[in-house]
């Protein structure tokens, strides 16, 4: 019970940040000219949409046990392309870039499109927060030991030890301490972890001296052979 309350508090903290931001943006509309107002309005929309997406993901976690998310052959590159087109604007706004490198021969994996999209989205968002300015994050899709590995590598400060220990223990089972990283409670990684488990996909991380890679390994769809 205590741990549940703690998770709720940490999630609430992370969700409070976009609300504070929206409030500040709305307040700054008062004194701006029309051109600037249009820019501020677009920021309000962007921030609120990301927050809504996070709330939706949290809601989905509550429904995972109901088995509502159908597993099916999914084009992994298609999902990754969708995430990149959704996030590239945000990366560039924050003076970062998001590159892609696809080398996978197996095109289809067994997954749920919606959940896989959220996993990749949260990995990418995490990479953006962790990356240094003027660097890029890299989204890779590759064949790995009979599975397809989707990984996101960031270039920035090394992963804090407390988060690393949490990962070594078996991935993130709950949102971890808010002190682990500014602006994030690890909620995105927690969401990615829960969705990956539902899809029977393996998640993991590699710690580099200049950043971190997070990955999910998905089973190849037998149906893939029909397309190859």
């Amino acid at each position: 019970m205590e741990s549940e309350v703690s998770s709720i508090l940490i999630a609430a903290h992370e969700l409070k940040a976009p609300m504070s931001l929206i409030r500040q943006l709305a307040l700054s509309l008062d004194t701006e000219n029309q051109d600037s107002n249009a820019y501020v309005r677009s920021q309000i929309i962007d921030v609120s949409e990301r927050a809504i997406k996070q709330v939706n993901d949290l809601t989905k976690i509550a429904h995972l046990e109901d088995g509502l998310f159908k597993m099916e052959p999914v084009s992994v590159r298609g999902v990754c392309d969708g995430v990149v087109s959704e996030l590239i604007h945000l990366f560039r706004f924050n003076h970062r870039d998001l590159n892609i490198r696809y080398t996978n021969q197996s095109k289809l994996v067994i997954a749920n499109t919606e959940l896989l999209h959220s996993v990749v989205y949260n990995f990418c968002l995490n990479a953006m927060h962790y990356s240094d300015q003027e660097t890029f994050s890299e989204l890779t899709v590759q064949d790995h030991n009979g599975k397809v590995r989707v990984g996101v590598r960031d270039f920035g400060p090394a992963l804090p030890m407390d988060v690393w220990r949490e990962l070594k223990r078996g991935w993130i089972e709950k949102p971890v301490s808010i002190a682990m990283r500014p602006g994030s409670s690890g909620l995105g990684l927690y969401i990615a972890s829960m969705f990956s488990k539902y899809m029977n996909a393996e998640v993991g991380a590699v710690r580099h001296r200049d950043g971190t890679s997070f990955f999910v390994e998905l089973p190849v769809s037998k149906q893939a052979s029909l397309f190859e």
């Binding site: 409070k16 940040a17 609300m19 504070s20 931001l21 409030r23 500040q24 943006l25 307040l27 700054s28 008062d30 004194t31 701006e32 600037s36 920021q43 921030v47 706004f93 924050n94 003076h95 927060h129 962790y130 240094d132 300015q133 920035g156 400060p157 990283r181 500014p182 602006g183």
Partner: protein, 115 residues
């Protein structure tokens, strides 16, 4: 010159907009701000606490350790509950809460300290 040290670009822009009549320089981490401070001594610093890399408290300690930078007035802007903390020995003039602050408060501090 006003320094804004805030790792959220949108929040940094909000602060800069409130200081639009003054020259501002935004830094997304404390290291870059510290490196620049020798070249551009600011009149005022708006400082976030939870930053990538060294946090705001580390930055405050660093500033306090040099006689010239120890005199720079600092306004902390954070969502942490720091309102009851006395950080005046670090040059902190005010602690504003991101959840409740108004742009006019930022403007007022810019008017008071920036030239």
């Amino acid at each position: 010159m006003i320094f804004i040290i805030e790792d959220d670009k949108i929040m940094a822009e909000c602060i800069a907009r409130a200081c639009k009549d003054y020259e501002t320089k935004t830094f997304f981490n404390a290291i870059e701000a510290m490196a620049d401070i020798d070249r551009n001594m600011p009149d005022l610093i708006f400082l976030d606490i939870l930053l990538s890399g060294p946090d705001g408290f580390t930055f405050l300690n660093e500033l306090a350790s040099y006689s010239d930078t120890a005199k720079i007035p600092i306004i902390i802007i954070s969502s942490l509950n720091l309102e009851n903390q006395d950080l005046s020995e670090y040059g902190v003039v005010e602690i504003l809460n991101k959840d409740t602050m108004y742009p006019k408060e930022i403007t007022a501090y810019a008017e008071r300290f920036a030239h």
